[in-house]
């Protein structure tokens, strides 16, 4: 291919060195240190003692009794499961809403399609924290949703619908934040879809459902998978949505990690949770890489 401008190995090295060095030094090394810390013993006010221990991981599932025996304690497991469940719920709701929207966009005339892409991209690039905060105003006590009920006298002064600080609120927040990441890749694959194939199926008396299942879904598969990953992975490690909309009561993995490094100051336990989170993400990515092998991998996205 091209001959410009980095041919020589030296230049190649110099060109790549800054990026590689920065990411190695400030990303790979810190995460590796976390992995090491997760096998150490906590010091009282943060920090670690250099003694090997698997306690941090044991602590996720068990509670150590006074007589040093272990008792199963589901508290942290619940947080792991909640993170998984809510991330899954957010992914499914993004898919259910996102697919029809992407379909609609793909059937629009080309000029209009680009406008839709812009309209869906804009919220994604605006501040996540601020957009999540907006949902407090909507779901919160005296918020936009409660106001009409109160005005109509259905809801008493002190009463609240209790929309905030719930799994529902977190799921809505996650869905709202990440749904553009579902719509855009599905749209990208549907836009390339050859609609004459769909028409051919219809001409051959395929039922609507069969056409959808046998023709549309397989062709849109890379986009659907990419969208699901792009929603599921950040949802699993989310911090802002459970923190603001779950109100410290409904912890997820992200809020638990943050809590261990700030308030609780148990670094090894926080590190162990962080490693669990990282491992879950890696497992999902590896499963995806395996599943996507026959097809060209869908682009990483933003």
């Amino acid at each position: 291919m091209a001959l410009l401008p980095a041919r020589a190995p030296l230049r190649r090295t110099l060109g790549l060195l800054p990026a590689v060095a920065i990411i190695l030094a400030f990303m790979v090394v810190p995460v590796a240190i976390m992995a090491v810390f997760s096998f150490l013993v906590p010091r009282s006010f943060g920090g670690v003692e250099w003694t090997f221990s698997t306690d941090a991981y044991v602590q996720i599932l068990f509670e150590r009794m006074l007589d040093d025996s272990l008792r199963f304690s589901p508290g942290y497991l619940m947080i792991v499961l909640r993170s998984f469940g809510l991330a899954l719920l957010a992914t499914v709701s993004c898919l259910l809403v996102g697919f029809p929207v992407a379909w609609f966009m793909a059937r629009r005339p080309p000029g209009e399609r680009n406008l839709w892409v812009l309209l869906i991209t804009i919220p994604f690039w605006t501040n996540q924290l601020v957009r999540t905060f907006a949902w407090i105003i909507i779901l919160g006590r005296n918020g936009v949703i409660e106001a009409p009920f109160r005005w109509a006298g259905i809801l008493d002064q002190g009463a609240t619908l209790g929309l905030m600080y719930s799994n529902l609120a977190i799921t809505v927040g996650l869905t709202y934040t990440f749904i553009p990441l579902m719509v855009l890749p599905i749209y990208a694959s549907l836009e390339k879809l050859d609609f004459s194939l769909v028409e051919a199926a219809a001409d051959l008396y395929s039922s609507r459902l069969a056409t959808f299942r046998r023709v549309v879904i397989p062709l849109a598969r890379p986009g659907i998978i990419a969208g699901c990953l792009l929603v599921f992975i950040p949802s699993l490690g989310a911090f802002i949505q459970p923190d603001l909309l779950g109100g410290g009561k409904k912890l997820m993995l992200g809020t638990l990690v943050q809590f261990q490094f700030t308030t609780a100051r148990n670094w090894p336990f926080g590190a162990a949770i962080a490693m669990v989170l990282l491992a879950l993400v890696m497992v999902v990515l590896i499963l995806h890489a395996r599943a996507a092998r026959p097809h060209p991998a869908p682009g990483g996205g933003q």
């Binding site: 291919m1 091209a2 410009l4 401008p5 980095a6 230049r11 190649r12 060109g15 790549l16 800054p18 990026a19 920065i22 990411i23 400030f26 990303m27 810190p30 995460v31 240190i33 976390m34 809403v97 029809p100 929207v101 379909w103 609609f104 966009m105 059937r107 839709w116 812009l118 804009i122 919220p123 605006t126 501040n127 996540q128 924290l129 601020v130 907006a134 105003i137 909507i138 006590r141 936009v144 553009p180 990208a188 769909v198 028409e199 199926a201 609507r208 490690g237 802002i240 603001l244 993995l253 990690v257 943050q258 490094f261 926080g270 590190a271 989170l277 990282l278 993400v281 990483g300 933003q302």
Partner: protein, 275 residues
């Protein structure tokens, strides 16, 4: 003509599902209503966000007059500009090597490494970098924040630059070399100008990403190095007044303007490669 036509097997076309347009319109409302609500309440005269008492721009005046907010906004700008400048240069160099350096052993690994910040959950990066900085005793104030931002901005700057390089026609570069332009002259006079829209797009993305970052900054920033999102978070925590909405609206406006600009830039000119 009476009764159904016998050969009317032609049903409505497959793609046109009734109600789809309504759903899509509803989706746009879902996307923009929260933003609209947030901005609307920033003009509330009263001090309780959710109790509308009248129109006023007082909260904007207050936000602008608040020295802490001004400092936080200044910090945000300093961090975003510095991190963007460094990340864009670093990403451009890497993209040039990876797109034009031919295949070499380890190129896949480098590509994977560059996209790593997109895969590791932000909260994990945040605490890891926090522990790392305190472990090596790095205490550069805003410098710490800049370093953390450069790291996660690199892939965002890299993507549009690489896409632009891949979509560019190399015959112009070859022509320049055929006409005895030196490599450096070719790069400066041909490659770089052609690449510029990609570089600008990458810089804009990384600027927006840096301005918006909250989790990593919250963990890494010291007490005096608050950025705007971190300040907004502490305001939300301490009780919500329309002042939060006013500051938030300004931040939203900045992102929306930049993203719209980015969009127009990546769409103009030949050889544009959108993913």
């Amino acid at each position: 003509m009476t009764g159904p036509r016998p050969a009317a097997r032609r049903r409505r076309p497959f793609g046109e599902v009734p109600g789809l347009g309504t759903l899509a319109a509803g989706f746009l409302v879902f996307l923009y209503a929260p933003i609209a609500v947030l901005v609307a309440y920033s003009f509330n005269a009263g001090s309780i966000v959710m109790v509308w008492t009248g129109f006023s721009t007082d909260w904007y005046a207050r936000a602008f007059a608040n020295a802490d907010i001004r400092q936080a906004a200044f910090n945000s700008l300093v961090v975003a500009v510095t991190a963007t400048a460094i990340a864009t240069v670093v990403a451009t160099l890497a993209a040039l090597v990876l797109a034009r350096g031919g295949r070499f052993r380890g190129s896949e690994a480098v590509l994977g490494l560059i996209s790593l910040p997109l895969m590791v959950p932000e909260i994990v990066t945040a605490v890891a970098v926090l522990v790392f900085f305190s472990g090596i005793g790095l205490n550069l104030g805003l410098g710490n924040v800049v370093i953390a931002h450069v790291t996660f901005c690199i892939p965002f700057a890299f993507m549009p630059i690489r896409a632009r390089l891949d979509g560019m026609d190399t015959t112009l570069e070859q022509a320049a070399q055929d006409l005895y332009a030196s490599e450096w002259a070719t790069f400066r006079l041909v490659t770089l100008p052609l690449l510029m829209p990609g570089v600008l797009a990458g810089a804009m993305l990384s600027f927006v990403i840096s301005m918006d970052d909250f989790i990593i900054t919250m963990m890494v920033a010291g007490a005096g190095d608050t950025t705007l999102p971190v300040y907004i978070y502490s305001m939300i925590r301490h009780g919500i007044t329309p002042e939060v909405n006013a500051v938030s609206s300004i931040l939203l406006l900045v992102s929306i303007v930049l993203v719209t600009l980015y969009w127009f830039m990546t769409r103009t000119g030949p050889g544009t490669a959108r993913r």
